[in-house]
């Protein structure tokens, strides 16, 4: 194959996308859904990781007093806690302050929602925000704190961290299976779509072979076609991912305390990864779709 054939073969590939538009559209659809779900899994796991980092970074634990413990006694408990070895900081969080924080988080500026929960009717107990010198000794220290009279519960963030780790594993696993399943499904759909539209192209391939075209020559337009479809799908799915994520981030931040990661700095990387994945899928798909016919000769291909 000569270099100057490439121009011609490239044009043929582009033309084929249009002449086989049903298949082209179907392939783009399949690829986009596959890439989108993959992207969703990756972004989700990324969020969980970042949430875990925030928690680990805080390295702080809340210790709640029993409900009716007078503030003075609570402060005494605080003194007890500070005496323990493993305590780095110990900060008193009065219940009034805590309820105010909640109001702020919930966006209840006027305090209408939690009105009547301030002062004596405050349902929250007093608490201490404690950080440890050595987190690995957490269990012992927690046990010592629990023994102090007046301590009700310890809000165990490491438990949350463990849960998140587990969730992340589940998501990774689920993501893996989803991607695997989707790849199989998309391969199935693609090969079926190809099978349906392949008849005319099968004739075309056998004719090309019978007038002396090499397999490489026949393959190039198919690869070009696959690559273009793949790049198109990559661009489309990254665009959709950003759009959907943006919408979801908007609604998630307004209902929960959790703040999702801003993925816009990764936009370039995601686009690139999607385009590459799409290109690879497309090219491989293009090669696979014709390899069956390239192996055969003339009549065998169409049954002349």
């Amino acid at each position: 194959m000569k270099i100057r054939s490439l121009g011609y073969l490239f044009k043929e590939g582009v033309k084929n996308i249009w002449s086989n538009r049903t298949m082209s559209i179907a392939s783009v659809g399949v690829l986009v859904s596959c890439l989108l779900l993959t992207g969703a899994a990756v972004v989700f796991s990324y969020n969980i990781n970042s949430a875990m980092k925030t928690i680990e970074g805080n390295n702080s634990v809340r210790i709640y007093m029993t409900q009716d413990l007078p503030t003075l006694s609570a402060i005494k408990v605080g003194e007890e806690i500070k005496k323990l070895d493993n305590i780095k900081t110990c900060e008193f969080v009065p219940k009034d302050e805590a309820i105010q924080q909640y109001m702020k988080i919930l966006g209840d500026k006027n305090g209408t929602m939690l009105q009547g929960m301030t002062g004596k009717d405050n349902p929250l107990p007093d608490a201490f925000k404690v950080s440890f010198k050595d987190l690995s000794k957490y269990k012992d220290t927690a046990a010592q704190i629990k023994k102090i009279p007046g301590v009700a519960t310890i809000n165990d963030y490491s438990d949350v961290a463990a849960k998140l780790t587990r969730l992340d594993k589940v998501v990774t696993m689920a993501g893996f299976w989803i991607i695997l399943l989707l790849s199989l499904v998309s391969l199935f759909i693609i090969s079926n779509t190809i099978r349906v539209t392949m008849f005319s192209r099968r004739v075309e391939i056998s004719i090309m072979k019978s007038v002396g075209a090499t397999n490489g020559f026949i393959r190039v337009p198919f690869i070009v076609e696959g690559i273009i479809i793949g790049m198109l799908s990559g661009a489309l799915s990254s665009f959709l991912l950003f759009l959907i994520y943006d919408k979801m981030v908007g609604s998630i931040t307004s209902i929960t305390l959790f703040s999702p990661v801003d993925i816009s700095p990764m936009a370039g990387k995601i686009l690139l990864a999607f385009m590459l994945a799409g290109t690879l899928f497309g090219a491989v798909g293009g090669v696979i779709s014709i390899s069956k016919y390239l192996k055969k000769e003339g009549g065998e291909i169409v049954g002349w």
Binding site: R4, Y8, I207, M208, K209, S210, G212, A213, E297, G299
Partner: protein
């Protein structure tokens, strides 16, 4: 140029299409292949173009023993032949021009050469006005001539034509064989399958008759002097 040594071809369904065929065609010959339908004429040609492989015997084309040919070499030996197929084999998503140009693209011709050569060849087969048509918009005879144009466009040393005038009126058939004759005069070897006895009679060429898979008659190839007379 072409040599068959005790070639037999049995299709996978058991049909014995060729039985122990031996034949030699020299460079520059013009051979008519005749015989009733199903006699094995197309099979004979398909063996030459490596579309089918013989079950036994040897086929030598251009000094090359075809059974030693590797799969990836097949396209290159096909390019040395201009082939007119009985079933036309035109690509229907391509125009007449593109179909003929395709054969040139395969061998890596430049766009400039293609733009010059294709219209010239289409003119030879009287299709200059149909260049932009798709095969589906053409009559059978016109499609057949596109196939002929494609076979001629690369100036092959060997032309294999399976009933190239099968769908063409007698006057045009004569014109086409005249064209092939002219090409043959310039040194190209031609194998042409035909059912038209008037053609065979009019052009005094070597005639090979196949019947039921065997060669039953083979006139000697015409002498140089006789060729100049017609």
């Amino acid at each position: 140029m072409i040599e068959f040594q005790n070639v037999s071809k049995i299709y996978s369904n058991g049909t014995r299409a060729l039985k122990d065929v031996s034949l030699k065609v020299d460079k520059g010959e013009f051979v008519f292949i005749v015989g009733s339908s199903g006699a094995g004429k197309s099979t004979f040609l398909k063996l030459i173009m490596c579309e089918e492989r013989p079950n036994s015997g040897e086929i030598i084309v251009n000094g090359r023993e075809l059974s030693t040919l590797k799969k990836r070499e097949v396209p290159f030996i096909r390019r040395t032949m201009g082939i007119v197929f009985q079933d036309f084999r035109l690509i229907d998503t391509m125009t007449v021009f593109e179909n003929v140009a395709f054969a040139m693209h395969i061998v890596g011709a430049s766009n400039k050469e293609i733009r010059k050569r294709v219209p010239y060849i289409l003119g030879l087969v009287n299709l200059q006005n149909k260049a932009k048509c798709h095969p589906a918009e053409l009559s059978g005879g016109e499609q057949q001539r596109v196939g002929l144009a494609r076979a001629l466009v690369n100036n092959p040393k060997l032309i294999i034509a399976d009933e190239p005038t099968g769908n063409i009126d007698p006057a045009l058939s004569f014109e086409i064989v005249d064209l092939l004759n002219e090409i043959n005069r310039r040194g190209t070897t031609i194998l042409m399958v035909t059912h038209e006895h008037t053609l065979v009679k009019h052009f005094h060429k070597r005639v090979v008759e196949i019947h039921d898979g065997t060669i039953v008659a083979d006139t000697a190839s015409q002498k140089e002097e006789e060729r100049h007379e017609d």
